[in-house]
């Protein structure tokens, strides 16, 4: 064993997986996990913990894995994280825990994410759940949204002894974990549903089909239903479009629509009643994780898929692993390319994407080099489907129906980073609803901070 290298993780063969929706990464077995865990040098001043938005005791749980005591490892993780099987799969570890790992200076970082995943999967397969609260506080908290922020906040509050009800707008809890992230990256029944069961086993109630802002308002939850505090974790669900000509043609979708059909409504499965467009040649516009998810979904539905992104590979906002997987599977990257118009036939169906070539100029406000159009570089890609994956913004349904809830110019709720406190008394917020579209783990960190903030508020009330 080369101690400088990670124990490789088994994956489905790229050719095979490009045609199915089974999970790509197969994970470690006990032996592999113990072997990988032995690479951890158990730093006293562990940098990895500082890189984790929910501050998991990483050396602590890895030490237990080393011993083969997985049950104990699970209890250590679940003190800090409500969704370890999810985080082990979708966190950008390379820029968080693993990015700070001391091993990484002279070799490869310890595979913290894969170890976390192994521990969580082992606990699930062996029927082990997190421990709930022993003493109830007799106070009610409403959590709006059952995505990563809401589930984490609810789980933490329940562990402290609060009565927590989560209100979910869709018919199934999980938020972006069920509608956004595809099956092949995050299995819904085997992983997400089980983690949600764990949160429920802590005493959390989940009521689906409640659109807060429409079915009921935050003020009504407080005044009519007796909630002592509210956490808003409603995410950033509003899709952006480019505003170029032809965008309403048949065959142009937001990544949200495309992914919701496939992931939530299971339209990738021919038995589903919800249709999805089976394009022959698809362009996904954008370079984030969502773009990779949409592209890899279209690929699995039988299309030739192009990622169209206006900057270069270096600036792709997606996780390195996602880009790597996408390439392995045969996604074609058309970088430094920007769409200017969508072409359609006389019946309004997409026939092509007019693009220009770009080059990188001076860095812009985001610190990334600004793409500039190369003159006379216009060309047309012939295709039948365009998926817009340009990011999302928070849904105004809640902010527009809650008096006294301050939002910024991007319609993000203004909340204190350390406590989640908003401008409205008793109302806390966190996750994408506050930051705009970010990651699962950052939302979980915000949910965790808000649970602490709510506990402080209610303890002094």
């Amino acid at each position: 064993m080369d101690v400088l290298k990670k124990v490789p993780v088994r994956e489905q063969d790229p050719k095979e997986r490009a045609t199915n929706f089974e999970e790509v990464c197969l994970g470690y077995n006990l032996q592999e996990a113990m072997c990988e865990a032995s690479r951890c040098i158990t730093c006293k001043n562990a940098q990895c913990v500082k890189g984790c938005p929910v501050s998991i005791d990483i050396p602590g749980f890895i030490a237990k894995v080393k011993e083969g005591n997985i049950q104990e490892a699970y209890q250590i993780i679940s003190q800090s994280s409500a969704l370890p099987a999810v985080c082990g799969r979708v966190c950008p570890q390379e820029s968080q825990c693993e990015g700070k790992c001391i091993r990484g200076f002279k070799g490869e970082a310890v595979s913290i994410g894969k170890l976390e995943r192994f521990v969580a999967d082992w606990a699930r397969e062996n029927g082990i759940s997190p421990k709930g609260a022993e003493v109830k506080k007799g106070k009610k908290v409403a959590v709006i949204g059952s995505g990563p922020a809401g589930l984490t906040c609810a789980g933490d509050l329940a562990k402290m002894g609060y009565d927590v009800t989560i209100f979910e707008a869709l018919h199934e809890p999980g938020g972006v974990l069920v509608y956004g992230i595809p099956e092949f990256r995050l299995p819904k029944k085997a992983v997400v549903a089980k983690e949600i069961e764990n949160v429920k086993s802590l005493g959390v109630t989940i009521e689906t089909n409640v659109v807060v802002g429409k079915s009921i308002t935050i003020d009504q939850l407080i005044e009519e239903e007796g909630f002592d505090a509210v956490f808003v974790g409603s995410g950033a669900g509003l899709p952006k479009f480019m505003g170029i000509p032809g965008e309403n043609s048949n065959g142009v979708f937001s990544a949200n629509e495309y992914l919701t059909r496939s992931n939530l409504m299971k339209s990738f499965d021919p038995r589903s009643n919800t249709p999805i467009m089976h394009g022959k040649k698809v362009a996904v516009v954008g370079g984030g994780n969502v773009a990779m998810d949409a592209a890899r979904t279209a690929l699995r539905l039988g299309a030739e898929v192009h990622i169209v992104y206006r900057r270069s590979e270096e600036e792709l906002p997606a996780r390195v692993e996602e880009v790597h997987h996408a390439k392995e599977e045969g996604i074609i990257f058309d970088l430094l390319t920007n769409p200017t118009e969508i072409l359609a036939d006389e019946k309004g169906w997409v026939t092509g994407l007019k693009c220009v070539k770009m080059e990188l100029g001076e860095p812009d406000a985001s610190g990334r080099r600004r793409p500039v159009v190369i003159p006379d570089s216009e060309f047309v890609m012939e295709l039948d489907t365009v998926i817009m994956s340009l990011g999302t913004s928070p849904n105004p349904l809640i902010s527009s129906t809650t008096e006294g809830l301050e939002v910024n110019k991007w319609k993000c709720i203004v909340a204190d980073e350390a406590t989640g406190m908003t401008s409205k008394e008793g109302v806390y917020a966190g996750g994408d609803a506050v930051t705009g579209a970010a990651t699962v783990i950052l939302a979980m960190g915000a949910g965790k901070a808000a649970a602490k903030g709510i506990d402080e508020y209610l303890s002094n009330k």
Binding site: N209, V211, G237, F241, G251, E257, R261, M277
Partner: protein
């Protein structure tokens, strides 16, 4: 689960159901809609709210069987339940925000086509309860397909029924009735037209000529109904709107109907395929020429 307390076939392929949905019944207003799902595997089907009873905590829906989903839904009986029933979605009709005085000063004409009578009914009823008598035109292809006539009669000022084939009431399209009424000297300050997209398009072309501001209610393809997917985008004037959260009611004179009708065709073939699969079950293996 959301229990069906009443289920009735109004006419061929059009069904009415009263469903227990306390949260929806409590705050819904005319003009809004719900999304239902039959079972754990079902698709999300948007339906307009036809009526509601705040005390009994029920919401009345009316639907026509168009796809595989609504076809299966039609099989549901009293005592069965919907797996999911979410709402109220969309914005209430603008009328409910106006003062009774302002409304009484207005002459309002409702134009309902086919199953569009269902979403028109709660608006006319709401006005009736607020002391406003609105004129209503209800059009249907033929006498047998006419729905909610009695209900509409009890809340409308004047009710004009017309059938395309002349089998009942007046004869001809709703647009002809509008022309006739105006020719008879009737004046209207506002028209609310709800029905098939093609009907709304032609009503709007006519009322634009007649200078009657017109509101239409759109029912495009949608998935979540909360602004998340953008499938329901529609061009209104120079802006792109999401019908689920910005609508479903819009200024009919500004709606790009041709685009909206085109977008409704998006999954037509897939829907057709789903129906075939439903009807033919395991015996459906293609080769009929209607599918791949």
């Amino acid at each position: 689960m959301y229990k069906i307390v009443k289920a009735k076939e109004l006419t061929t392929n059009i069904y009415l159901m009263d469903v227990e949905a306390p949260r929806v019944a409590k705050y819904c207003e005319p003009g809004q809609f719900v999304i239902v799902r039959m079972d754990e595997e079902g698709e999300r089907i948007p339906l307009t709210i036809c009526d509601y009873d705040r005390e009994k905590e029920t919401v009345t829906i009316v639907f026509q069987t168009v796809g595989a989903g609504t076809k299966m839904m039609a099989e549901l009986k009293e005592g069965d339940s919907f797996h999911d029933f979410v709402g109220p979605l969309g914005c209430p009709s603008e009328l409910v925000n106006e003062t009774p005085e302002a409304l009484k000063a207005k002459k309002i004409l409702f134009v309902a086509g086919g199953v569009g009578a269902a979403p028109v009914y709660p608006q006319v009823k709401w006005l009736h309860e607020h002391g406003v008598a609105a004129d209503v035109i209800v059009g249907s292809k033929t006498k047998d397909l006419l729905i909610l006539e009695k209900e509409m009669e009890s809340v409308a000022g004047n009710l004009y029924v017309t059938t395309d084939d002349g089998s009942y009431g007046r004869s001809g399209m709703v647009t002809q009735v509008i022309k006739d009424l105006v020719a008879e000297g009737k004046q209207y300050d506002l028209c609310v037209a709800i029905g098939p997209m093609i009907m709304m398009k032609f009503v709007c072309l006519l009322t634009k000529e007649l200078n009657i501001p017109t509101i239409v209610s759109l029912n495009p393809i949608m998935v979540d109904g909360t602004g998340m997917c953008g499938a329901c985008r529609v061009t209104v004037g120079s802006e792109v709107k999401f019908a689920c959260v910005d609508g479903p009611e819009f200024d009919g004179h500004k709606v790009n109907f041709d685009e909206a009708m085109r977008r409704q065709q998006m999954y037509k073939t897939d829907e057709g395929k789903a129906i075939l699969k439903l009807e033919e079950g395991d015996t459906h293996h293609g080769g009929c020429g209607h599918c791949e």
